[in-house]
């Protein structure tokens, strides 16, 4: 009985034992450890912050961290020669909150808990240097760096309900699903002077929105391209199709996604930046994305200095387009 139980226990723990959350804070002073680059190397692990329950970027599959951001985190850890430890992030209302809770200060209910490195942080100079009303830099506690992907908006529709989605005007007459309190929600609820508003159906996440589409409650779903790609790759969603419409009026049609560290840990930032640069330009990032069934676009950041050939290499030899293909 006992050996059987033990081996069962081992079986249950083994697959994720390496990636589990790590508490290395200072209990006495109730604050997080100050983990500089050297300390990270010495400790033998790096805590990578990714959003909880957020497919296809980061989520749990069979009790193990999975998703494209988890894969990227593992690659970074591998290159650094340390173990990958997941740090799950429960999203707050804005990115600023997430950076405070997970990168530089810690949440007031878990003051010892910080990630060494946070992924899926938009890389946007305008955001990084934003000032408050007194002229202080709002994000001065963190460094945002290392763009690794360009993200954009995408609609998927049900061809049994819609012939095509040429423009968003079709959603004046046909219901569309969105995740609540996201830009697609605002866009569909306010676009065309509010004429699509009554057709907007709100869901807690895209998974639910797609199950709404399967049930015929909505004719289409709008979300981030990777989320849509991920849902379309599921067997039960195979009859749905990607639309090729534009999104007039959206200020940010596409944006670069990178990483963040605490501003006092720049050495770690430089090391990770070099690793991610190599992964992106060598085309390995594109491979990681296609292995996850996702389209990949090289960040705008690289487009400004790489020649066409290098960009083609980074996006795979087929030379996939940069935007909504």
């Amino acid at each position: 009985m006992k050996p059987l139980f033990l081996s069962l226990l081992l079986l249950m723990c083994w697959p994720w034992a390496g990636a589990q959350e790590m508490n290395d804070g200072e209990p006495l002073l109730n604050r997080p450890a100050d983990r500089t680059y050297d300390i990270i190397l010495e400790s033998g692990y790096i805590k990578v912050g990714v959003y909880r329950d957020f497919p296809p970027y980061s989520y749990e599959r069979n009790g193990e961290p999975a998703g494209i951001d988890v894969d990227i985190g593992r690659r970074i850890a591998e290159e650094m020669g340390v173990e990958f430890k997941v740090h799950w992030i429960t999203p707050d209302e804005t990115l600023g909150d997430d950076l405070r809770n997970n990168v530089w200060k810690g949440h007031y209910l878990a003051k010892q808990r910080l990630a060494d490195l946070m992924l899926r942080v938009p890389y946007d100079k305008e955001y990084a240097y934003m000032q408050d009303s007194t002229g202080e830099y709002i994000n001065e506690q963190v460094v945002m760096f290392g763009p690794y992907q360009q993200e954009t908006w995408q609609i998927a529709y049900d061809p049994q309900q819609l012939d095509s989605v040429q423009t968003i005007a079709v959603f004046q007459y046909n219901p569309v699903g969105v995740e609540i309190d996201t830009l697609p929600d605002f866009y569909m609820s306010s676009g065309l002077q509010g004429r699509m508003r009554d057709q907007v159906r709100h869901y807690p996440n895209l998974r639910e929105a797609f199950s709404g589409m399967r049930a015929g409650d909505v004719s289409a779903v709008m979300g981030m391209r990777a989320e849509i790609d991920h849902e379309l790759a599921q067997v039960e969603n195979e009859r749905f199709v990607k639309a090729a419409n534009g999104f007039p009026g959206i200020g940010k049609q596409a944006w670069d996604v990178g990483m963040a560290i605490k501003h006092t840990h720049r050495q770690l930032g430089y090391a990770v930046e070099a690793i991610i640069g190599e992964i992106v330009t060598s085309g390995q990032m594109n491979e990681l994305f296609s292995r996850n069934g996702l389209s990949y676009s090289v960040p705008q950041y690289y487009r400004e200095f790489l020649d066409e050939e290098s960009i083609a290499r980074a996006e795979g030899s087929q030379g996939q387009g940069s935007n909504t293909k």
Binding site: R52, E93, D98, L109, A110, D124, D181, L183, H202, W255
Partner: protein
Amino acid sequence: MRTNKFGIRIATSALALGVSLGAHAVTDQDIMNDQNTPEDIVSYGMGTQGQRYSTIEDLNRDNIRFLQPAWAFSFGSEKMRGQESQPMIKDGVMYVTASYSRVYAIDARTGQELWQYDARLPDGIMPCCDVVNRGVALYDDKVIFGTLDAKLVALNKDTGKPMWIKTVADYQAGYAITAAPIVVKGKVITGVSGGEFGIVGKVEAYDANTGEIIWTRPTVEGHMGYVYKDGKKVENGISGGEAGKTWPGDMWKNGGAATWLGGTYDADTDSLFFGTGNPAPWNSHLRPGDNLFSSSRVAIDPDDGSIKWHFQTTPHDGWDYDGVNELISFDYMENGKKVMAAATADRNGFFYVLNRENGDFIRGFPFVDKITWAEGLDPKTGRPIYAENGRPGDPAEMSEGKGETVVAFPSFLGGKNWMPMAYSQQTGLFYVPSNEWSMDIWNEPVSYKKGAAFLGAGFTIKPANDDYIGVLRAMDPKTGKEVWRYENPAPLWGGVMTTAGDLVFTGTPEGFLKAFDAKTGEELYKFNTGSGVVGTPVTWTMDGEQYVSVASGWGGAVPLWGGEVAKVVKDFNQGGMVWTFKLPSDRVASK
């Protein structure tokens, strides 16, 4: 007495606590009569109507200088942050809550701890609105309170051991409880807190003895209410009749209107009065319509949760003016007739007097110096007359750059926030803890959420004056006249209490417990408690002497969202104490 092992253990420990010997259970009658029994405080509001008026006359303007500390008690640990609790007193025991969902039973004579209960909060919990708790309810042998993970917990009053625990809502969906529950006719009545995560407000009743749910009433139009009979869930009518009357599309499904500040109860009309928070989403341009029952006061039948009437203070809110502030029942004489009224001082800067039998508007007037979002109230209906260009802009119409900034008085933290006001039956005045501040609101040109581009609104709160933000006001509900005011440098964030000795008590973020002359506003007393006071004072008599208690510990929403108010409050230190004062009996006659 139960004969199992567990029962015996409880009995023994109860015996060990000498102080609770001869203690009586709290009955429905005790709660309904609380305002007339100076020797105990068994309801939030010092009476279910919430007047916070004590009939004790001993302490007055002549002898208050002899009010002296009797004991102080530390909540301990590093969990300080805002202490917004109102203590309760029963049979020489104080029951008080602290931040992070903690409860304490303290010997009210000596300040010695009898027991402490720390709710075990789940890992990764993200409460929307700070970690405060505003107090307990007492019933029978139970001390009942709500937790940050949205549970109701009933503790044995002698041992502090849980007797039942019920989940009211899912904390992972964004719900929490910070308000004190109330008990009416054996039912524990609670609301819920929630952030902008697509929640729906509700009021629920639970059997105080067993914790079984009795009814639930959503506070957003279109949602079904239920009563529970013999374990079965029975439909009891859709709030507002049907969905979609005052909301576009399916937005009613996630309409907000959180009931986060709890409620009051009026026995004359047998009504619960609960306020509701702002509608979701924040951007009002997405949801044309009144968006019922957001930013409203709702009268609810305590027996089955039916809505009797509602009064919406900010229809189609666009400024985050929650309508949660307490509705206090009071009577007054007009042309020889008794008027059954109720009053509330709203976030939006207006003071409303309503007929509490049917919710009709009697009159309304500003209680802050400046209001810019509305030009006034319709004298017949009380509906606001919106000011032109007073509404924050539509993010969808934003071009490049920051977009136009709209300045709104008062700020979204309100002309008055959660901190309860008091009504003196003697002076006929309301004592309103208010703040003079504005907010700049603009559409954020670059904002992100969960790795995605987003359309956010930015805001900054600014003091309206250089030398003060807080104003304690004496307001005449019959005329709308401000009878007196006390100006305080920092924003007022603590509750108010008034007594038949013609005193008004409140605390300040600077750390003082202060007392004022109820008629003139003259400051008569102050004592520094060592950290900001954002709790609500109470008074009672024990062994023939008058006591006053207040929790001390700076925190709450101001340090979280205060914007430029930070200049004034950034040096205030946190804390976590309850202070108790008394007037020695030989000083009562002092001049």
